[in-house]
C-alpha cells in the first residue's frame, strides 16, 4: 500500500515547470485582493456591514437577539443563530433565479457553524440572532467575504463575542498554492480551500475544499489561508475602530483596563468556565 501511495504523490508533484508563474490580476501568490469594510450601512438593522473584497460587493445585516419565529424552532436553554446567504439575481452572469438554491442553503449552514463558535448563545434562551447576507455582486470567494461582513455586523449589533471571525480562501492555480482566489481562478483553478479563523483563539471555524490536492498541499493551503485571515482581521478591526471612534491613544489607555469592543472581557469569561 505504501508503495502505491508514493507513486500517487509524484504524479501530482508541484512546481515542475520553469516558466515564471503570474496570476491573472498580477497579484503575488500570497497577496489578498483589496479589502474594504464599512459598518453601520443599514440604519434599520441592529448591526450591519458592507464589504468589498476584490469585485465582491456584499451587505450583511444582523437583527436580534429577538424572539424566534416560528416559535417551534426556538430552544428553551439557548439562542439560535440563523444565517441566510442570498445572491441577487444580477450578481452573476447569467442572471440567476432569486429563489434559494441548494448551494445557498449549504453556505448558510457552513456560515452558521463558522460564526457560532464566537458567540455566547447560551445567554439568549428562546431567542434568535438573524444574520442576513445579500450578495450584490459576486467575484469568487463570496462565502469568505460574507463571513467577514457578518462577523463585523455582529460586533456592530453590540453582541458580545469571544473573537472576531475572519475568512479567506487559498487554492491551487497552475500548480501553485495561492491566496484569495478571484472569480477566474476559482473556476479554472485546481482546488479551492475556503477557511474561516478566529485569530485570538487560533481555531478554524469554516473549512471546505474541493479540487485535487495532496495531503501536504492541503495543509499548506489551510496555513496560507490562515495568514490571509489574519490580514483580513486587521481590516475588520480598522473598520470597527473607525465607526466607534477609537484612536490609537484612546485605545492604548482603554486597553489597560479592558480591551476594546468588549472582546477581551468576553474571552476571559470563557476561560473562567
Amino acid at each position: 500500500m505504501s508503495k502505491s501511495k508514493a507513486k500517487g504523490k509524484t504524479k501530482t508533484k508541484r512546481k515542475s515547470r520553469k516558466k515564471k508563474f503570474e496570476r491573472v490580476d498580477g497579484r503575488k501568490a500570497d497577496e489578498l485582493r483589496p479589502v474594504k469594510i464599512e459598518t453601520g450601512v443599514i440604519p434599520n438593522a441592529d448591526g450591519s456591514a458592507y464589504i468589498e473584497m476584490g469585485r465582491n460587493k456584499i451587505i450583511a445585516g444582523v437583527y436580534g437577539p429577538r424572539e424566534m419565529h416560528p416559535k417551534r424552532l426556538s430552544k428553551p436553554h439557548r439562542g439560535v443563530l440563523r444565517v441566510r446567504y442570498h445572491m441577487a439575481p444580477f450578481s452573476v452572469d447569467p442572471r440567476r433565479s432569486p429563489a434559494p438554491s441548494r448551494r445557498d442553503t449549504e453556505i448558510g449552514m457552513v456560515m452558521t457553524d463558522a460564526l457560532e463558535p464566537a458567540l455566547f448563545l447560551e445567554r439568549y434562551p428562546r431567542s434568535v440572532i438573524d444574520v442576513y447576507v445579500e450578495i450584490i455582486q459576486a467575484d469568487g470567494g463570496t462565502r469568505c467575504a460574507s463571513v467577514n461582513a457578518a462577523a463585523v455586523a455582529l460586533v456592530d449589533a453590540g453582541i458580545p463575542m469571544k473573537d472576531l471571525v475572519a475568512s479567506c480562501a487559498a487554492g491551487k492555480m497552475e500548480d501553485h498554492i495561492v491566496l484569495d482566489l478571484g472569480d477566474y481562478e476559482d473556476k479554472k483553478g485546481q482546488a479551492d480551500v475556503p477557511v474561516a479563523y478566529m485569530p485570538k483563539l487560533e481555531e478554524v471555524t469554516l473549512l471546505q475544499m474541493d479540487g485535487i490536492l495532496t495531503t501536504d498541499e492541503t495543509v499548506e493551503a489551510v496555513e496560507l489561508a490562515i495568514e490571509g485571515c489574519k490580514q483580513v482581521y486587521e481590516v475588520q478591526r480598522e473598520a470597527l475602530k473607525k465607526k466607534y471612534g477609537m484612536d490609537e491613544e484612546d485605545a492604548a489607555e482603554d486597553a489597560e483596563e479592558t480591551e476594546e469592543l468588549g472582546e477581551e472581557p468576553a474571552e476571559s469569561e470563557e476561560e473562567d468556565k
Partner: protein, 267 residues
C-alpha cells in the same frame, strides 16, 4: 448538540467511555462498524448499491438519460447527486422538503465525486450545447444510525462502478437516437469520504446516531486512491486547530486506504 437532559446524560456517558479509550458499543475510537456493500441488485436502474454500516442502511441508485448541458460547459455531460431522507429512516424524520442535512449530504458526496473528476465529462457530451448524458446519483437513506456521508459516499462509488448506461447514437445531422446497447461508466479514480467526529477532545470515526447527536462537530475528508484530498467539509458549531486538522487528515488517509482495500476492491 441538543441540550435536553437526556442528551446531556448521553453526552456525559459517551465522553466517560471515550476517556477510557473505547466506545458505547465496544469499538475502538478509529474503528468502523462492519460494512456490507451489495451492488447491482436492482434491474431498472443503471447502477445500484446497498451499503450497511451497522444499523445505518442506505441505497444508492444511478440513472442515466439525455438532457441539455449547462451553458458554460456545452460539451460536457452532467453528474448530479441528490439525497432523500425517507421518513421510514428515523422517528424524527418527516415527509416534506429536504432538511438542511439532506442538502449538505448530497452536496458533500457530489463534490467528492465531481472534484475528483471521477467521470470524464467530455466523454458524456453528445451534441455540443444541445444533448449530453445526465447521470443522476440518488442517495436513499432507509435507516439512520449515523455517519451518512461515509455510507452514501461509499455507496455512490460502488453504484457508479457497476453502472451500465445506455448508448446513444449521434447521426451526421446531429440527431440523437437510442440503441439497444449499454456501456460501463469509466471511472478515473475512487474517492472515499471519511468523516471524523469531534466529541470534547476526542476524535472518533463512524459515529452512531447517539454519538452524532452529542458530537461538537465533524470534518469530512474525501481521498482518492492516490491519497489526494478531493473534498473537505467542516460542520458543527466548534473550531478546529491546525494541529487537529492535520490529525484528522492523517486519520482519514489511513482509514480510506483500509476501507478501499476491504470493500471496494473485493467486489
Amino acid at each position: 448538540m441538543s441540550n435536553n437532559i437526556v442528551s446531556r446524560l448521553k453526552r456525559k456517558k459517551i465522553e466517560e467511555v471515550l476517556e477510557a479509550g473505547t466506545r458505547m458499543d465496544g469499538r475502538g475510537l478509529n474503528d468502523f462498524r462492519e460494512i456490507e456493500v451489495r451492488t447491482n441488485f436492482l434491474e431498472k436502474s443503471e447502477g445500484s448499491a446497498e451499503v450497511r454500516m451497522g444499523k445505518t442502511h442506505v441505497i444508492v441508485g444511478v440513472k442515466a438519460g439525455l438532457g441539455t448541458p449547462f451553458d458554460d460547459t456545452p460539451d460536457e455531460g452532467v453528474l448530479m447527486c441528490n439525497a432523500e431522507y425517507t421518513p421510514v429512516a428515523h422517528q424524527t424524520w418527516e415527509p416534506g422538503p429536504p432538511p438542511h442535512g439532506a442538502i449538505e449530504l448530497a452536496r458533500v458526496v457530489d463534490r467528492g465525486l465531481r472534484s475528483a473528476e471521477i467521470l470524464n465529462m467530455e466523454d458524456l457530451g453528445l451534441v455540443s450545447g444541445e444533448k449530453v448524458y445526465i447521470v443522476f446519483v440518488d442517495l436513499y437513506v432507509l435507516n439512520w444510525d449515523g455517519n451518512l456521508i461515509d455510507a452514501c459516499g461509499l455507496g455512490a462509488l460502488a453504484a457508479l462502478k457497476g453502472a451500465e448506461i445506455p448508448v446513444f447514437k449521434v447521426s451526421k445531422k446531429n440527431e440523437v437516437s437510442e440503441t439497444d446497447k449499454t456501456q460501463k461508466l469509466e471511472l478515473r479514480c475512487e474517492p472515499i469520504p471519511i468523516t471524523i467526529y469531534k466529541i470534547g477532545k476526542h476524535f472518533i470515526l463512524d459515529a452512531t446516531a447517539d454519538e452524532e447527536e452529542v458530537a461538537d462537530g465533524r470534518l469530512t475528508v474525501t481521498l482518492d486512491e492516490n491519497n489526494n484530498v478531493t473534498t473537505l467539509q467542516k460542520a458543527g458549531p466548534v473550531g478546529f486547530t491546525v494541529d487537529e486538522i492535520k490529525k484528522c487528515i492523517n486519520i482519514a488517509e489511513e482509514k480510506a486506504a483500509e476501507i478501499r482495500s476491504q470493500s471496494v476492491a473485493s467486489e
